[in-house]
Amino acid sequence: MSIKFENVNYVYFPGTTMEKKGLDNVSFELLDNSFIALIGHTGSGKSTLMQHFNALLKPSSGTIDIAGYHITSQTGNKNLKKLRKEVGLVFQFPESQLFENTVLDDVKFGPKNFGMSDKEAEAKAKKWLEQVGVSTGVISKSPFELSGGQMRRVAIAGVMVNEPQILCLDEPGAGLDPRAREEMMQIFVNYQKAGHTVILVTHNMDDVAKYADDVLVMEHGKLIKHDKPQKVFENEEWLKKHYLDEPTSSLFASSLKGFRFKENPLTIKELVDGIKENVQGGV
C-alpha cells in the first residue's frame, strides 16, 4: 500500500488570467513506514503537493494512489472521510485550527467526526495528549489559555489522535524554541518507528539529514529529485544551483582541507566518525 503519484499536474485557477501551475507532472513512489522529507524553497509547491495526499486538492490530471484510494481529477468529494482519517495533515502553525472550549474537546473533534463514540474519542484524546507531552492538568482548560508551544502540541495531538497511517507535517517546529523543536521531532520519529509513514515538510537540512530515509525536492512545481539524503546532498554544484543548503556537517566537512571521507558526512555523528578515521587512521 505504498503512495504513488503518476504524472500529477495541478493548476490553480484554470482558465483565468491568474492561471498558475502548482504541480507540474509529478511522479514518485514512496515506501510504507518510512520517514520522508519534502524540501524546496518558498513557493516551490510543497504545500500544494501535501494537500494532494488527502485529496484536499485533486489533480488536474494524473493519478494518485494512497491509503487504498485511487484519486483522479474525477474523484468526487463523497467518501473521502476515510481517506482523511488515514492520511493526517498538520498545517503550518496548526494552533490556528483550535476552536473548542477545552483542550480535550478540541482533540476529540477529529475522532468524533470520523464516527467514534464520545467515550472512545475521549480515551484516545487523553492518550494522545499525553503522548505529545501535554500534561493532564491542562486538558480541561481552554486551548487559548496555553502558551504557544503547548497550543502547537494540542493541535498536533488533534491530528495524531486519528492514528493515521500517513502523517504529513508542514514545518511543525517553526517558531518554537530549540528544546521544543527537538522534542517535537522525537515524537514524529517514534510515530514512524511504531509503523507509520511520516512526511515532513522542512527547510532545516540538518533535520533532513538526521531523520529522513527518503527525500523529495520540489522546484517550480516540479519534482527535481527523489532520492536518499546521501544522494541528494552528494553534489554541491547541484545544490547551489537550486538554492538548497547543505547540512551543516557536510558543509564543515568539505571545508576541511586534506581530509578524506568515505561518505559525505551528513550528521554530527557521521562527521565525528569521519574525522576520527582521518586523524587516527594514519596511526
Binding site: F99, N101, S142, F144, E145
Partner: protein, 185 residues
C-alpha cells in the same frame, strides 16, 4: 475590548470584523433554491448581528456597513449598496435598543431572543429594500409590493439561519475572547 470603543485595538478589530463579514458573504455560503434574488445563504447577516452585540452599537454598525455594504459596492451591486448600508443601520439600532432594554445582560435567553429579533428585523428591512429597489428601476408601487413578496422565501431562510447562528457564534466568540484578553491584558 468593549470597554474602550475608541482604543486603537478596538478600531482595528472593528476593521477585521468587517473583513470577516465580507469573507462570510463571499466564502461561507450555502446555495438554496430561489426564484429571484441571491440564491444562497451567507453568513454576512449573522456576523453583522454578532458584531453589533459584540462590538457595541457604533463599532458593530460600522463593521456591518463596511462588510455588507462594501461587499455589494465592490461586487456588482453598487447601485443598491446604500440600501444595504441603511439596513445595517436599522438592524443595529433595533438590536442595540433591545439589548439596552435588557441592561446588556447577555444571558442565553436574551441572546437567543436577540438572534430572532435580528432575523425578523432583517425580513422586514429586506422587504422594504426590495420595494425601494423596484421603485428605483421604475416599477409601479403595486408591482414593487408583489416583487418584494415573491423574493421573501430566500430572505426568510437567510433570517432563520441568522436567528440560529447568532447565539451559537456569539457565545463561542465571547468565551474565546475572554481567555485571549485575559492573556493579553
Amino acid at each position: 475590548m468593549k470597554t474602550d470603543k475608541n482604543s486603537l485595538q478596538a478600531l482595528i478589530f472593528t476593521g477585521l470584523f468587517a473583513a470577516i463579514i465580507y469573507i462570510g458573504i463571499w466564502v461561507l455560503r450555502i446555495p438554496v433554491p430561489a426564484m429571484v434574488g441571491r440564491p444562497f445563504i451567507h453568513f454576512g447577516n449573522t456576523l453583522t448581528a454578532v458584531a453589533i452585540l459584540y462590538l457595541g452599537y457604533r463599532n458593530g454598525m460600522i463593521a456591518g456597513i463596511i462588510g455588507l455594504g462594501g461587499f455589494d459596492l465592490l461586487n456588482g451591486y453598487a447601485a443598491t449598496s446604500w440600501l444595504t448600508m441603511l439596513e445595517v443601520v436599522v438592524v443595529a439600532t433595533v438590536l442595540s435598543l433591545i439589548f439596552k432594554g435588557m441592561n446588556y445582560q447577555d444571558s442565553k435567553k436574551n441572546i437567543i431572543i436577540l438572534g430572532i429579533v435580528a432575523g425578523v428585523t432583517k425580513i422586514f428591512t429586506t422587504y422594504c429594500v426590495s420595494i425601494v429597489e423596484a421603485l428605483m428601476v421604475g416599477t409601479s408601487l403595486q408591482v414593487a409590493y408583489i416583487g418584494a413578496f415573491v423574493s421573501l422565501p430566500a430572505t426568510v431562510i437567510n433570517s432563520i439561519s441568522t436567528a440560529i447562528c447568532t447565539p451559537i457564534l456569539y457565545f463561542a466568540l465571547k468565551d474565546a475572547t475572554r481567555v485571549i484578553m485575559k492573556k493579553a491584558k
